[in-house]
Symmetry: C3
Subunit: 489 residues, 3 copies
């Protein structure tokens, strides 16, 4: 039995092997082939994207112009969301000095896998035709798939630099699955409204990532400390991500809201909340330094908190000043989070959160859920009109008699469900990821693209020859060995 214990210990505590030459291709192939089979069995075009069904649909609904196709209502917003997912999230995670390839590249990989799995999972829960057993997809499904992926990309933010791409595929597989279930509970069973996903995307994704990171705590992570920071240029790349997220967030929050005034209002509210966040983020960031200098970490992240927090309430009549107040408060809270909470979490709770998703997604998402609850509960017929209340909160069918107060209660309950799913699901997935088969890096090897990427050997090609009293001091090759090379890039 001692042998058994020993071999178990070896299995779990042996030296890390980051060779993923078999596991990564295997996972990619198996899962992609599974997607093809499942898509073949289940997924079809919906009535607005199938050439035959669209003609029938037009006839049945007396539609005279193609402009009434949902494509023209939602495609521009879809593309904005798409940019947020791949360039926004991707480049936001390039801030580390030697993990930019991993930041944008693994984001690309898991989002591409995730959106396929999301179309299936969300389809089974929301769009399965019981008669045919098929799922119909259209542009709104694509937006929802991108949204669903966002949850897992948020979780990646907490894990950045500390996990292997194979682990990220597992995080995404379970993340999408959990997302679809919690979304079904929150939107369908509790009948909450959450168009921009404060609850279902941000609170869930944030706590999911934090829980995984907590389970995967690395006590010796300080061994990689030299790489856990930014460079001047990597901060600039991250700003590309920040700005595309910031600019397109109004599209994120309005992409799947009610057409007409719903999308219009959601865009306005988000635009205002984000603008307000920027000012309070700058204020707190400047206050936190001796001479009032600004910190790029705050500017890159906390400026977005207003958008996260408006995810639920954006489509409601929160009023323009209400949006400004939300952004005002969340900019402050999020920046304080970066200043005090992240260090606290790391020291006291043993929770290493690389990108600070706690401050950008988890807390603002949770707040957004409760803000939505309050705004819903405060809705009045005077402001919305009777039909406006019905259309905004979908008080139809089984929910025709629900009052706004009850709705507010359910919204708050939905927020708690999202957090619970994140914490419990993340803990479970974290335990799976502790198996020593995933090729994750050792503690002194984190935040380093060299582990999973062919990093260009930039030095051998342009050897600089430095002169010292007309003698060559060194050739550049020597520098390479001492890691000088990557720093320069």
């Amino acid at each position: 039995m001692g042998n058994c214990v020993q071999s178990t210990k070896d299995f779990f505590c042996g030296p890390k092997n980051t060779n993923i030459r078999i596991s990564l291709p295997a996972v990619c192939f198996v899962w992609q082939i599974a997607m093809i089979i499942l898509f073949g069995v289940f997924i079809r075009y919906d009535e607005e994207s199938d050439v035959r069904l669209w003609e029938i649909f037009k006839r049945e609904h007396n539609i005279t112009s193609d402009i009434e196709n949902d494509f023209y209502f939602r495609y521009p917003s879809f593309q904005d969301v798409h940019v947020m997912i791949f360039v926004g999230f991707g480049f936001l995670m390039t801030f580390l000095k030697r993990y930019s390839f991993g930041g944008v590249g693994f984001n690309f990989l898991i989002a591409s896998f995730g959106l396929q799995w999301a179309l299936l999972m969300q389809g089974w829960f929301h769009a399965l035709d019981p008669a045919t057993g098929k799922i119909s997809i259209g542009v709104e499904s694509l937006i929802n798939a991108d949204f669903c992926v966002a949850g897992s990309l948020i979780a990646y933010g907490a894990l950045l630099g500390k996990v292997s791409p194979v682990q990220l595929m597992v995080v995404t597989l379970f993340g999408i699955t959990l997302f679809a279930v919690e979304e079904f509970i929150i939107l369908d069973l509790l009948h909450c409204r959450d168009a921009g996903g404060s609850m279902v995307i941000h609170a869930f994704g944030g706590y999911y990532g934090l829980a995984i990171s907590w389970v995967l705590y690395r006590p010796k992570l300080y061994q990689s400390k030299r790489l856990n920071g930014s460079l001047y240029h990597s901060d600039m790349f991250a700003m590309i991500g920040t700005l595309f997220l910031w600019m397109y967030w109004p599209s994120f929050n309005s992409a799947i809201t009610d057409t007409g005034s719903g999308q219009h209002r959601a865009a306005i509210n988000t635009y205002l909340a984000l603008a307000s966040s920027v000012l309070t983020t700058v204020a707190i960031s400047s206050m936190s330094q001796k001479t009032g200098k600004l910190d790029m970490v705050h500017i890159q992240n906390a400026t977005l908190a207003g958008g996260v927090a408006m995810g639920t309430a954006a489509e409601f009549q929160i009023m323009p000043y209400g949006s400004l107040i939300v952004g005002f408060c969340c900019g402050i809270i999020s920046t304080f989070g970066y200043l005090f909470v992240t260090p606290f979490l790391e020291k006291r709770l043993k929770l290493q959160d690389t990108c600070g998703v706690h401050n950008l997604h988890a807390v603002p998402g949770m707040l957004g859920g409760f803000i939505g609850a309050i705004v819903a509960a405060a809705a009045t017929e005077a402001v919305y009109s009777r039909e406006g209340l019905i259309s905004t909160f979908d008080f139809e069918g089984a929910f025709a008699d629900r009052s706004v107060g009850t709705q507010g209660g359910f919204q708050a309950a939905g927020t708690c469900v999202a957090i619970a799913f994140g914490v419990v699901g993340g803990t479970g997935v974290g335990l799976i990821l502790r198996l020593p088969i995933w090729g994750d890096p050792a503690d002194d090897n984190c935040f380093d693209d060299e582990v999973y990427w062919e990093v260009p050997e930039e030095d051998e090609s342009i050897p600089p020859v430095l002169e010292y009293n007309n003698h060559m001091v060194y050739k550049h090759q020597d520098i390479t060995e001492s890691n000088f090379s990557v720093e320069q890039s």
Copy 2:
């Protein structure tokens, strides 16, 4: 009295203090709180974004489909303009080797503040309901707010690297205010057309920035000369800004024009003028160097001159070849400006224009105003049709009897008003900014992010150890002290 003079002199000429730990947060908080209060008092959703009013509006106007909501006419263009404001202007100003954080970051700050103030200022002048005392906002208001902000961002281009963020907030506060007034005079009183803002945005913004820069002349700016230039990578970041401005300029000029053929035509005209600008910019840039080499400064800036100059005429029937001619001439003029006028302004007129806004905005904007006047005066009923003339030039109400010739005269007058507002307003704001309370940098400290930003200390983390005959020559820490660090990034 001698003491008084002395203390006044000390006050104005003492050593610069760039500590903004109190002033910047104070300005941000005070102004953001003021925004919240004023929004609470004045700003409401308009009839297309308010759920109750939209239902009424649809009924009153016999609208059967939500696609008729203004959101679907203008939101894609709005998002393009939004990208131009934050990524376009922001990244265009990252070209300096050590002021990229300031370029993109302060642009972010002042645009976020400015758009809120613009919604109020433009609302008071254009959208105040006299009955309720409220301002109604919709997607077109957001576009106009972004436009209004553009004027101040252009002014920032002339000041880049030489002012503090607090000064920039002041520049923006007054810039937006002046903008709203001149816009009211030009568009409402003079009844000019200026959809893409050659006059109200570019000519005004350009001269506003130049006048401020002239008042803030720094005779010893050569002390920062080492930082007033670009790096290979900072030029690449600036190209991101250039290209997003260039690509989306058709949306800028068409965003608020008449729906239907108006937006369509404005986009085509701008697209063509921009393409033409690129070729003449390249030609002049190549001619200006001994061996025909191109200069990135020209490519980054003068290629955009065609878009600026089409700001007024884009919605008119200037004809495709007319657009090409405008781009052709403005590419040449703008590149000549960078080659000869900017150095001349600095040496003779004591005007330091960091980004060359004189050549990119002030002059092409002024020309655009006059081109608009000529094209308007040349409009004929044969080309436009009677109803086309009325809709294009808004010859309705009090202006029903205006002839196209008169319209041309007023367009020219409008251009002069814009320039006058820029020059006079900028001089005044410049004088305010000379007060020694704003935390601006000393002459030997300009163009340096270290002053207002926590710049990553990239060196301590990956110390390269260079070997010379097997002895360590130096550790990287030594380099840090000699500014080697930032250069590498």
Copy 3:
């Protein structure tokens, strides 16, 4: 005669002169002036962008709302395509360590010229009104012009770093001309469908560039080998290009398809194929390295193969799982191409393909043509409905009796026409480019921005002074001479 031979030999084999101070401006001016004259003679607004004609058009077609203007159907897609052309292609070609200016800058130049020439060439073939002799342009013309330019930009990918900007202007002039002719043959005479241009854009452009590169083979290119590679940061810039191409490819393939379900379906299919490509690219890339590391070249390029290969079939009812299969296979094929075919081409066929356009455009484009043929031939009335078949394949007028089988045959024939035009046209253009008058760089001077650009001399401004035992070892100026400077940027 010996003298004659000798002087001919000198003419062709003398030392390279890269001075383009006369030729580049001359070409730009002559061609831009020619464009202005030809536009003046031929180009007019179409009935949806001319203010007078639009009013008539609305009356004739009983259109009550401006939203029916083609602008609102296609402008968002146009802008996405526009971003792909300038940022997508431009930044994808910035991956070389010292040729980023040339990658994005010359792309900008030739696209700007090309789109003007494309409006004329495509107009003469497709939109010339025989009555008036005029070409009418609208937003769809702009999209087609951008598409047409894409062919030449793809060709640039094979030539990157080895040609002068004057040569590129020639490549573009002939490329656009050949494109318009082959497009006329394929789309009009053979009546193929090719909305996303697998055949007319990618197969043609790819083989066109490869043929030129083959004729311009440089046996001593190894002399520039030190510069033919990437840096960490230049790879990040290239990822900007990759991602914008990847994200907006659904817009590329749907931009000019049938309105309604056609655009909707094309976007869905492309979205899925691209996602699938990413997974197989990652899998093969990882398998190809000893420890499973990923190669940025594959991620930057092969992930896009699914979009290329869906260019023809995207608008057909290929079914979601069909799209996944296309992406699956093309990701594998394209990555294998980078691993094995590009080295083979260079060694055995004397074909130097800088960006690997063979693997990203030529082969996936050709496959896309044949996939389109198969999917067309497999179309059934049960899936499409009778009217769906007619609208999807334009079985109208002279082609009313064509069967889907015949259509499939013509689609395959169209693919061959595109390849033939590319190979033959490219060979001819390559021979023209061998004339020694174009200012192309010598073999040891390729891939170097210094040849055609004023590269910032970053060193003189921030001299780092390194200390060794308190003695200055060197000033930075010394490093400059040894090329150290650019490497750092």
